[in-house]
Amino acid sequence: MNMIQHFPVLAVMTLFLGAFLIEILGRNQIVRNALAFAAVSISMVLLICLIRPVLLEGQVISYWMGGWKPVANYAIGIGYEVDALGLTFALLGITAYWLSCVYSFGYMKGKQHLGHYYTLFLMLAGASVGFFLTGDIFNMFIMMEIVTFSAVALTASNTEKTTAIEGAFKYLINCSIGSSMTLAGIALIYLNCHTLNLAQLATILPGNVNLTTLMAFALILIGFCVESAMIPFHASFVDAHTVAPSSVSMILSGMVLKLGVYGLIRISYIVFRAIDTSSLQILLTAFGTVTMFIGVTMALAQHDFKRLLAFHSVSQLGYIIAAAGLCTSLGLTGSLYHAINHTLFKGLLFLCAGAVIHATGTSDLDALGGLSKRMPKTCICFLIGAFSISGLPPFNGFVSKWMIYQAAYAKAVTTGNFYYAVVTVTALVVSVMTLASFVKVLHSVFFGQLKKEHESVHEAPGIMLFPMYIMSALCVLTGIFYKAFSTVFIGPAVFAAFNNTTYIDSMMGEGYAELFGVPALAIDKLEFSYWNPFVWFVLFVIVFAAACVVIFSSTGTRGRTLKSGGSYDSVYGTGDLSVDFMGRTYETGDPEEKYAVFFSGEKAEYSHAGGSDLFWGFKYNWHKYYQFLQGLHSGSVNDYSAYAVICIAVICMFMFLFMR
């Protein structure tokens, strides 16, 4: 049993050790690849071993660095604490890193000075897994800093894009503001409670609410909101995201945002236990709803493939934070489930974007088109990702969004507060706008007409397709068998978030929680309706196959399906229309015209309407809104910092007015 104790730290250490070894031993690319893959795989295996004790048996593993156990009920050393909530996020993270590592073998093959890519990648992986597993608030801050460092360095290392440097710089400035605020918050916490251990803080802080703890909570909340790209802080994140290499932007949107989400849930549900006050719930849901809406409306107006996906990450994070802010068990379940789904389908979409960029070299929506003929596998993966993110039934996006709507509307109906009805309506409408923007991408990139210079485009190499297949499969599986998935992964995590007695006891020794009288949060019974997607899906497939057979075979006698250049061409049997049965000749064009696209008679030439030409009606109606919003996203560092400062002031004022 004692070996299991060390697994959490070992998981983090293997990643950092891997980074260190790559710097020393990594002379040629093969060694670097092997070392990176080995480090990520070992760490993944270690975390998987933790599933049985933590998730299934509900145990909470605590580990003191250097064996410094608490002395006289006072935590001294740095503690690692793995409960269901942390482990779920850690597992999600490590799978995302594993897939991105495999993907980057193919994606990064041609790039120059690749030496430091894997070092930074493993630092990023180690720091984010460490962030999820640590039980010490200052340690969380350090891990967040390492994540920011390596993410900025990886973004800046993208030599192809000249604007990569600018994106990295803005991201660094924005995250530094966030982390300075967090550090100030931690200082105020230490000032008040003289300890940094999360478990012990969870016993001290919920009791006494005075000005310093309130200010500390506000500052740390801001720090994690910056990290999870809430609305005023999202702009620099989107810039960094657009220019990072695709395997990194998959991690940026999949994992780095989840740090902020995990941090928010950890401090508001367990450490400060302030989530059950209605004003914090309104603040978080307001943050989520505004982010949701602005993220998706901005995404509709984008011309760049990855910038559109980045704005979607921001909007999906709005869903997650809004659902987490509801403080009902169904809300948190929906939020965590959507966090996991978001990593899956957003990662899949970014990998497809990477494959497209790898093949065509450009990610501009107006310049692409008709790639599905040359890249069918990527197109299918993209379709699955697009359907999942817009929440169409058999896929996983639908299940989590469905939980979020139910939780939001149940909250609205039970508390009778119309505000939550507005949240539900916005969530539903934003979901259709997500579908709209992915229809735009689908048409501009994959369907539609193929450009001349993209004729020779080749499909993504196998090593890049492999992670895409895994993610597509996961997207579909978590969508259909969602009951099993949520009972194993999400149920324990929600239970761990709501009642922290086991969390405190395992850290500080038995009976500590009763000693200091910390009441657990009221967890309402997790009941949500289920429709059996499995039956629906099986029926769907059976009838789909039957309909295919009927439609495609039945046209035999009544006129064959003719592809261009088909042999059977005309009822008159002579292969072309120019001579009829009576031997009379007609002046007709070449027979291929029959299969050309109908151009009102003109010769069919390349005229692909994609990218910014779509949704004219919508943009025309909202052009004032778009002028104002695109003006706000001015791209200059000062503006983004100014928005951050304004938002910090607003949150602190909100805290003092309502949270007293």
Binding site: G559, G575, F581, R584, E587, G589, F598, G601, E602
Partner: protein
């Protein structure tokens, strides 16, 4: 198994696609008049559709001008089999008043086998209705031809087809009650020559009619 249902329904819902090969819009207005309340083509299932891919009967009006020739040929090729071509007015048959002008490229017969030719310089809606109804019958015969041809040859591609009916001629003065006897005309050039007197006759008959009204 739906063989007879398809045979019956092919007659009952022929969809029209109108190509204006340089017409003076006189015939175009008449074609639209056919779908108005008084003549109501929709009773027989006729419907004007927007794309040649959906069409059964292609309605062509106007002398095939130089500009519209190439576009006419391309659009006609894009209509799925079995299809019929109905020419409205005398212009597609003989070029009417524009005959001999440098700008037109001869009768419609040069480009496609015209199944029904509704003569008249702006034929009456009743005549157009008669012509369309005639075309629906011919459409049915063509479908039979395809089915028989297809039964004979299993997927070898080249189909031998027995002889089909010639161009049914609907004269302009045809009263709705009278059924126009389908005359069969010989080769295209003669048809061009033969059609001329008919067109001339048609022109006088409409003037007589106008005068008599």
């Amino acid at each position: 198994m739906f063989e007879n249902l398809i045979k019956k329904s092919a007659m009952k819902s022929p969809w029209l696609f109108h190509i204006n090969a340089g017409s003076c819009n006189g015939c175009d207005i008449e074609i639209v008049a056919v779908t108005t309340t008084l003549y109501d083509a929709e009773r027989f299932g006729f419907k004007l559709v927007g794309s040649p891919r959906h069409a059964d009967i292609v309605v062509v009006s106007g002398p095939v001008t130089m500009q519209s020739k190439e576009r006419l040929i391309r659009t006609l090729a894009q209509v799925p089999e079995p299809k019929c071509v109905v020419s409205i007015g005398s212009c597609p048959q003989s070029g009417n008043v524009f005959k001999g002008s440098y700008a037109i490229d001869g009768p419609l017969e040069k480009y496609v086998h015209v199944d029904v030719a509704v003569a008249g310089c702006a034929p009456k809606p009743q005549a157009i209705m008669e012509g369309l109804y005639e075309a629906a019958q011919i459409l049915e015969e063509k479908r039979e031809m395809i089915r028989k041809a297809k039964k004979g040859v299993k997927g070898s591609g080249v189909i031998e087809v027995p002889a089909a009916a010639g161009t049914a001629q609907v004269s302009a003065a045809a009263a709705p009650a009278s059924t126009a006897a389908p005359e069969s005309t010989e080769a295209a050039p003669e048809a061009f020559a033969a059609a001329e007197p008919a067109a001339a006759a048609a022109v006088e008959s409409t003037e007589k009619e106008v005068a008599s009204k």
